[in-house]
Symmetry: C2
Subunit: 440 residues, 2 copies
């Protein structure tokens, strides 16, 4: 989730040009007041290509923010696959469709052998909602353990396990939070033991631990020997209590964390050495079409399928699958996970160099093209949310799209489309330096 | 939901051709065991156009089942709009997008004035899930009243208010069921009064009444003076208890019930004289792309938006909106709601004539192109689910796609794409007669 101060608010209206004002007025008249626009100075794009987005006036923006168009904006192969299928047939999964089967085979093959069964849904929220339904039914328990600033989605059930939503949208009585696997991880293990005991004492039992394997809303944690040991200990405790382990790959999955010869996996849970029972996937899966899924151990889904009727009308339709297949093929044919590993490492190096000379930046971190860097007050060294917001706004004026995230909304979140080039990285660093200078 | 006996089961495998067997084997190896295929003899389609679907061998099927491709399979205008937008730009609602605004304006204008605010989501389940979240927050209550065989979706929250799912997937403690508005409606009113009292006594209070305005899984109820009076009385009782009224238009909406000069509305709730606080829409909205929505009274969404952060990544994206806009335009340019009214009336007449001469059929009913007819045992006059299943299978062999629905899965459910022609209606009736003859 991004910081509230990087949204448009009514007091920004006076400074806007006439067209933007008119569009905002029309938008506000018909859309729910819950809709938010990025930036005090909102942007209207009319075209995209690769890592670039273009306004009506032809201004080019570099996209350092959008993770959904994973193979690049409006990728011609994905667009062609969608166009061809939409003009031919779009039904549902209750008729035979070889395209669905082909895609499912390729996808499942990219997971560890025990995770052998795919269920398609439309959104990450639906994927996590279904994962919890399966876990609760399989275990007979209903307690869920999440990290302390986790975000897993927006259905009623999933909002109730998403502390980052905060406010009135409070956690369920059967949700418990634990600190993320930072440092030596002892805090997370201790928290998990307490959470398990509390859930058991309350009669909820432990249905599942669910973790975003990029720990994005908890401040970005790259896989390390310490995260491996910590997560292994927590997963073992959860399993000993009869619970299941769910890896939420909706954001980190499909190669965003980069792939190298030694670490070729597309999935964050593999990098963390986690051995989940259920894995949810989504956002980049079809480069922008609403496609998400649940990859699971077969016995869990067999038991669920025997007792529960589940049919998702729009999931796994030929057009959705055509988009997902094309995205998968481009991802591999263009070697984007490997590219993300290489260019991400270079960008992390540039960020480290920049951080060394700038007291406002601290602790650049992450993996592949999922990076974060804290914005701090140079005097106190504490997270500086207003400065992060000013940087996001300053970068928007420099035609760079980025956001702030993390507990304090004071970490810059770097997660561009994967074709992000070395030149793109240099342009981003140059403009970030400029925006830092502007801050004074 | 369709009757379990119209699905493929392993014992049907031996009778299948080699290709179908091979596809099923591959499918079962990678997809969740919960996936179901229609028919003992599953069908593989490779192309669609209008109301027809075609197999690899060029066999033509008449589609009397699929409500999602509302303007016809693979409609060229919808396909072209999707293709154009996918090749140009697909982002999200946090940037300005005039296409989204245009569409929202047109859609909201087609609702009564008080229902003035749109929120887009991806699936009918998400729409109903959000509607309940809004209702629960607005009222401070959590009790929900549904009809006794209702189906509203598959998230954890919505499965808990969907009695038609049955089995272990049981209703929540805060769900109460009422009979649908049949006959003089007194049963529904009495049930609602009891449900309200019970929810209040249990401390849940009444958050909402939610009704599918086609009452499809409750056996199809066309709008009538009796349904108007009954629903008005139930809605008044719910409001007196502090609850809201939600119309689920996911299936009946967008003109399926037909439009005439006297009854021009696209929405079932208008036809039933209901005055809802929240309306959910979905299935046909984008002719097959995952698009759904919630149309609501603005004060409800303003209060919700102030207290809850809600962002749906894939909802209202330019490609989804392009598909929804094109579907909306075709629906109007081709006069499909009016066509559905006219051809639906003719088809209902043909069904009545057929029913008069066939003791196995009873009570043809419905509105527009959303019709049902009961299949009964000629000896007892009771619902005959095996005969309904045999008819569905017999019609599949005659290249007609249809299903059985209702409480006993003994009602034929007729809900074709809206371009269904008079000739299509005659072909369907001819084949239905043949399938009835085959039954003996």
């Amino acid at each position: 989730m991004i910081g509230p101060a990087t949204y448009y608010r009514p007091e920004h209206r006076a400074a806007l040009d006439e067209r933007t004002r008119a569009l905002i007025d029309r938008r506000e008249a018909v859309l729910s007041p819950g809709y938010r626009l990025f930036y005090a100075h909102p942007v209207e794009f009319v075209r995209g290509s690769g890592t670039k987005l273009y306004t009506r006036d032809g201004e080019e923006f570099l996209d350092v923010y959008n993770n959904v168009p994973v193979v690049g904006h409006a990728h011609p192969r994905v667009a062609a696959a969608i166009a061809e299928q939409a003009a031919r047939l779009n039904t549902h999964t209750r008729y035979l469709d070889e395209g669905l089967i082909d895609y499912a085979e390729r996808l499942v093959e990219a997971f560890p052998a025990a995770l052998d069964t795919l269920t398609l849904v439309c959104t990450g929220s639906e994927a996590n909602d279904l994962a919890l339904r399966v876990a609760k039914q399989a275990t007979g328990h209903r307690g869920v353990i999440v990290t302390e600033n986790a975000y897993h989605g927006v259905t009623t059930e999933i909002a109730a396990i998403s502390p980052s939503l905060g406010g009135d949208d409070s956690l369920a009585a059967w949700t418990r939070t634990v600190r993320p696997p930072v440092g030596d991880g002892r805090a997370m293990v201790a928290d998990a033991e307490r959470a398990i005991a509390a859930l058991q004492a309350a009669g909820h039992g432990v249905a599942a631990l669910i973790v975003d394997t990029a720990f994005a809303s908890d401040g970005f944690l790259a896989p390390s020997p310490a995260t491996r040991a910590t997560l292994a200990a927590v997963a073992a405790a959860v399993r000993a209590a009869g619970g299941l382990v769910i890896a939420d790959e909706v954001q980190p999955g499909f190669g965003r964390l980069g792939a190298t010869a030694e670490k070729p996996s597309l999935w964050g849970f593999v990098r963390h050495g986690l051995d989940p029972d259920l894995v949810t996937i989504g956002k980049p899966m079809a480069n922008g079409l609403p496609v998400a899924g649940l990859v699971a151990r077969r016995p869990l889904m067999a038991a669920f399928g025997e007792r529960v009727r589940y049919f998702n009308t729009f999931a796994g339709t030929p057009v959705s699958v055509a988009a997902a297949r094309a995205t998968w093929e481009v991802l591999h044919d263009e070697g984007l996970p490997q590219h993300a590993g290489a260019v991400g490492a270079a960008l992390l190096g540039m960020l480290r160099e920049l951080t060394g000379g700038h007291p406002r930046l601290r602790d650049p971190r992450g993996a592949g093209l999922y990076l974060g860097v804290d914005v701090v007050d140079p005097a106190t060294g504490l997270p500086d949310q207003p400065a992060a917001t000013a940087l996001v706004s300053g970068l928007r004026e420099r035609r760079i799209l980025i956001s702030a995230s993390g507990r304090d909304n004071a970490a810059l979140k770097i997660r561009p489309p994967l074709p992000f080039s070395h030149g793109d990285a240099e342009r981003f660093i140059t403009e970030l330096e400029g925006a830092l200078r502007d801050l004074g």
